[in-house]
């Protein structure tokens, strides 16, 4: 009987160790929270949905809303959680990611971020055209072409008056370059920090201490 009991307990310890090891191994200190990141490159809003600290949220659905909360589009990200939305108007955009089990995350794209793709000078229709085409479908090449074209244009017109296309092209190139950096930064902020964990445990111990102190103050009156 005692041996049987010991065997059960030993088996249980082995099971639990395996399970805990499995948990640790598959997702080391990852956090349980849906996150979404998005940034504007030209007139495209590109982004990804993921669980903080690890897995991609391919099963999430993405809503693009304007500043007033009106839904502009509903997207289904690919298996890696990536999505792309072509903005049709400048202005604030809100990217909302929803997982089917009730997780939700938002990311705001400010009007300023989209502004370069939508020049305000209505007269310069060619700039607008180039600015909107260049970020898009052909990948890395067009931005260099755009910069080249812009600088060529600048040389033609002389040093005194740089082309209006140049700032837009530069903004586009910079946005594309810093995008991965911003994404990494956002992901790094999601990781649970040791200070947070220790702080939380400290709070719990502190609250227990307060409750016990409260009890000890009342104790002399409670017991004769």
């Amino acid at each position: 009987m005692i041996n049987a009991r010991k065997a059960i307990v030993r088996a249980a310890v082995v099971y639990a160790t395996l399970i805990v090891a499995g948990l640790m191994g598959s997702a080391p200190a990852s956090a349980h929270k849906l996150k979404v990141f998005a940034s504007a490159v030209g007139d495209q809003i590109q982004g990804g949905a993921y669980f903080a600290g690890g897995g991609k949220a391919g099963g999430a659905s993405i809503l693009i809303q304007d500043g007033g909360g009106r839904t502009l589009a509903e997207l289904q990200p690919d298996a890696n959680g990536r999505f792309t939305y072509f903005a049709t108007e400048p202005g604030d955009h809100l990217v909302v990611a929803k997982a089917p089990d009730g997780h939700q995350a938002t990311w705001r794209i400010s009007a300023a971020e989209l502004a370069p793709a939508f020049p305000t000078q209505a007269d310069d229709e060619t700039t607008r055209g180039q600015g909107r085409v260049s970020p898009g479908l052909e990948g890395r090449q067009p931005s260099q072409e755009a910069v080249g074209a812009a600088s060529a244009a600048a040389q033609q017109t002389g040093h005194a008056a740089p082309s209006p296309q140049l700032p837009a092209a530069i903004e586009l190139a910079v946005a594309r370059q810093i995008r991965p950096l911003r994404e990494q930064l956002a992901a790094a902020q999601d990781r649970a920090r040791l200070t947070d964990i220790l702080g939380g445990i400290g709070y719990i111990i502190g609250i227990m201490g307060l409750a016990l102190w409260w009890k000890s103050r009342r104790a002399p009156r409670d017991t004769p």
Binding site: Y15, G55, P100, G200, Y203, I204
Partner: protein, 209 residues
């Protein structure tokens, strides 16, 4: 899954959750067993940290809940222990929102209390380790499945679109329930061997004063 973020649930669900949660915490504080506070703090800290270790499961990711274990070992004291840990998780890690704190507390604390009331009397300092193991297994499985059901109900009451998703949710959390059952069982069986006095069930705890 037990951490529903802000902005998902509808206002009536939030208000109902907050009201019932508040009542539950009030009752728990009146019944607070001060002798169990150090235990409660240790389990609260464990619950707080356990949420950081996750396994991807289907379209979501899951972590241990431990509310069955907390209910079994703490009885009513589990309610403030869970509340404190949930507040700290929301503040430090951003798990769950502060507005949905009532609903989240309820979703974890009610199963814990049910475990305490249904399974607590089966445990006593004289329980054998195998009895303790079986009771722990049931508490772990019951805690996770009830919490999963309550999360699904909270989502379902907030909007039709969540109902099919909620069904998936329950299916996905079956493996978690088994893992949690085994871990809870191991902990309880271990306690019955090394520190059987900690297994005074809820009934004994209340009869004592």
């Amino acid at each position: 899954m037990a951490h529903i973020p802000d902005g998902v649930l509808s206002a009536p669900v939030l208000i109902a959750g907050a009201t019932v949660g508040l009542g539950l915490v009030g009752t728990a504080l009146r019944r607070l067993d001060y002798d169990r506070l150090p235990q409660a703090a240790v389990l609260s800290a464990t619950f707080f940290v356990a949420s950081l270790i996750n396994v991807p499961l289907g379209p979501s990711s899951a972590h241990l809940l431990l509310n069955g274990l907390m209910g079994l070992l703490l009885g009513w004291t589990a309610v403030p222990a869970l509340l404190v840990a949930l507040i700290l998780q929301a503040v430090f890690f951003g798990f769950g929102g502060l507005v949905v704190l009532g609903v989240n507390t309820l979703n974890l604390a009610l199963p814990a209390l049910l475990c305490a009331l249904l399974l607590g009397p089966r445990l006593s300092p004289r329980s054998t380790p195998s009895q303790a193991f079986r009771t722990g297994l049931m508490a772990g499985v019951l805690g996770v499945l009830l919490t999963g059901t309550m999360v699904a109900i909270s989502l379902g009451l907030s909007g039709e679109a969540y109902v099919p998703a909620a069904k998936i949710l329950i299916a996905v959390y079956l493996p978690l329930a088994i893992a949690e059952g085994l871990i809870t069982a191991t902990v309880v069986a271990f306690l019955s061997r090394v520190a059987p006095e900690t297994l005074a069930g809820e009934t004994q705890g209340r009869a004592a004063p």
